[in-house]
Amino acid sequence: MADVVRVVAADDPVRPLFSPAGELTADARGTLGLSPDELRDLYHKMVWIRRTDQEALNLQRQGELGLWGPYQGQEAIHVGTVAALRPTDWIFPSYREFGMGMCRGIDPAEMLTLFRGLSHGPWDPRRYHFAPLVIPVASQVPHAVGMAMGSRFKHGDDVVLSTFGDGATSKGDWHEAMNFAGVFRAPVVFLCQNNRWAISVPLAKQTAGSIAERAQGYGFPGIRIDGNDVLAVLAAVRAAAARARQGDGPYLIEAMTYRMGPHTTSDDPTRYRSETDLERWNVKDPIPRYREWLQGQGLIDEASLAAINREVETAVEATRNRLKSAPVPAAGEAIFGRVYQHPPDSFLEERQEFESSLESN
């Protein structure tokens, strides 16, 4: 069996940072090297993306959005991940990583046009190194591996982050992508946001074993961590990305969290889960938890908390206004405009017929 890659402890720079239970150790927390401003900014971003999430939920209820998929409870992962990466490192999200996109600098009003029925994702992924929100579960994971293989072929110093939920790990694409990554030693960090629910199906019915430990079978290390601790996420992603950057290949992080809201606004979680489960996770809510830690460290006071809330309210109001005044693209362009770079004549004729029919109506 000499051909089989054995994952050894020396090859795992993430594990020493964590307790066996997946908690970031006090030592590791103390050596992150983040300035007080940077530490406060993580908090600010979590509050901002949560408040935007709530606003999107309201906008959906008011009929301004067709659908919304809340990410409440997963903010530590969204913020910690982006903070751990360089802006040139690509992120390949699933559909729930709206907050990650915000942290990457994409205008939330622009992203919300997707849920307003005006676009399928309007931003240029190359500008933000942030791929489109992908809806078919796990199908984005091979895309991330392709990008990482490309980084290796071009001798780039960027790495790729591929994120997905626990449900995605049941899919064939997930397995194929993990296997490719191992074989090609691609510089990719796999980040499973294990929020314990795939719509109504709980983790226990989704998978019988450990997700993190599956990495061994693909020839690289994996770890399960506390995904509701923003600094734990940041530390794990940073160490795994540094390892990938120096050419040591992929890493799998299973970040344990909880989907506090419904799957989407079309879902009704009261049909399949109890309040007590939610209450148990409310205690671990990443935002108050981190706020208390900052307060305990003397890094944030009431005045700065109030200032953050004011800034966030202003930002959210501006987002709402930008969304409501977002131009509605002309139908011909919206439907036909981006399908082909070199559209066939017959396609252009169909567009022309459609546009003339609009004019004559």
Partner: protein
């Protein structure tokens, strides 16, 4: 230039594309060291290195899925799906992403997916299929199927240079057909060719059935029946002007493909003729194809596939109509 087989012509086309553009990558199952099960990629890894021509794990969905990330980074991936019947695991990646990614993001996907297709090779199940209609039905893709070495060379150049994704179907029964090729000749996507001029009935074919159609035209000539054979080369987009120009002469048409007739690509051709050339027709259009069954065991494939006799019979009926 010495006559070359279609297999060699495709090999030369890949070689020229790799040499002409550092962003072209060739990969798939067994395409590296072995040079492909049909030897289409023979010698390419040796010439261009294993970062540009490489074997992948046996996983069609990921073979196509990685193309998205590679294309976002500026590469021009040219993956091979080993056989027609193995493309289905990649169907989701092709339909949900390869075809739709530009529409979603505005970023072009210059991906050319090579697929040996069609029957008449005496193979076991899953090695003789004609899945083209699944892809012609998908907006965002272009679908081509050459029938000669020269067209295979040139059309592959056009496909790789095209900024949009192209499904490139190679008629494997014609891999070893030889002809002299002119590598300077261009064949743009979307242009059919008249493979043989005639005046009585137009026979519309592509890929593996072009040879059968030409054989039928030769046989018909002995009976003083003149068949014009159109080799579509490109299924999507479809060259309707060439088809309609032929119907101006013949007023009769037969469509021939190996795929089952029901829901097959021939239906689209017939419907387009009905839309744009109804007044030209003097007889119903015949569709000749595989039966509406799964591809049969090899012993029976000759009975299943279109042949010269079925084309001649349809031509007789078309000429006798009315």
């Amino acid at each position: 230039m010495e006559p070359v087989t279609m297999a060699k012509a495709i090999n030369l086309s890949l070689r020229d594309a790799l040499a002409g553009d550092d962003d072209v990558l060739v990969f798939g199952e067994d395409v590296g060291t072995l040079g492909g099960v049909f030897r289409i990629t023979d010698g390419l890894q040796k010439a261009f290195g294993s970062d540009r021509v490489f074997d992948t794990p046996l996983a069609e969905s990921a073979i196509i899925g990685i193309c998205i990330g590679l294309a976002l980074r500026g590469f021009k991936p040219v993956p091979e799906i080993q056989f027609d019947g193995f493309i289905y695991p990649a169907f989701d990646q092709i339909v949900s992403h390869v075809a739709k990614y530009r529409n979603r993001t505005g970023v072009s996907m210059p991906i050319t997916i090579r697929v040996p297709f069609g029957g008449r090779i005496g193979a076991v199940e899953h090695h003789s299929e004609s899945p083209e209609a699944y892809f012609t039905h998908t907006a965002g893709l272009k679908v081509v199927a050459p029938s000669t070495p020269g067209d295979a060379y040139a059309l592959l150049q056009s496909a790789i240079a095209d900024p949009d994704p192209v499904i490139f179907f190679e008629p494997k029964a014609r891999y070893y057909l030889k002809e002299e090729i002119d590598t300077a000749k261009e064949v743009p996507i979307g242009q059919a060719r008249v493979a043989r001029g005639g005046s009585g009935v137009t026979v519309i074919a592509y890929g593996p059935t072009v040879g059968i159609a030409l054989d039928a035209a030769k046989a018909a000539e002995k009976e003083n029946i003149s068949l014009e054979v159109i080799d579509l080369r490109s299924l999507s987009p479809l060259d309707m002007p060439t088809i309609l120009a032929s119907l101006q002469k013949t007023h009769r048409a037969i469509v021939v493909h190996e795929a089952p007739v029901f829901g097959g690509f021939g239906g689209e051709i017939v419907a387009r003729i009905a839309d744009d050339g109804f007044d030209l027709l003097e007889a119903p259009i015949a569709r000749i194809g595989g039966m509406d069954t799964p591809y049969p065991p090899a012993r029976y494939e000759k009975l299943y596939l279109p042949d010269v006799d079925r084309i001649l019979e349809a031509a007789d009926l078309a000429l006798a109509y009315g």
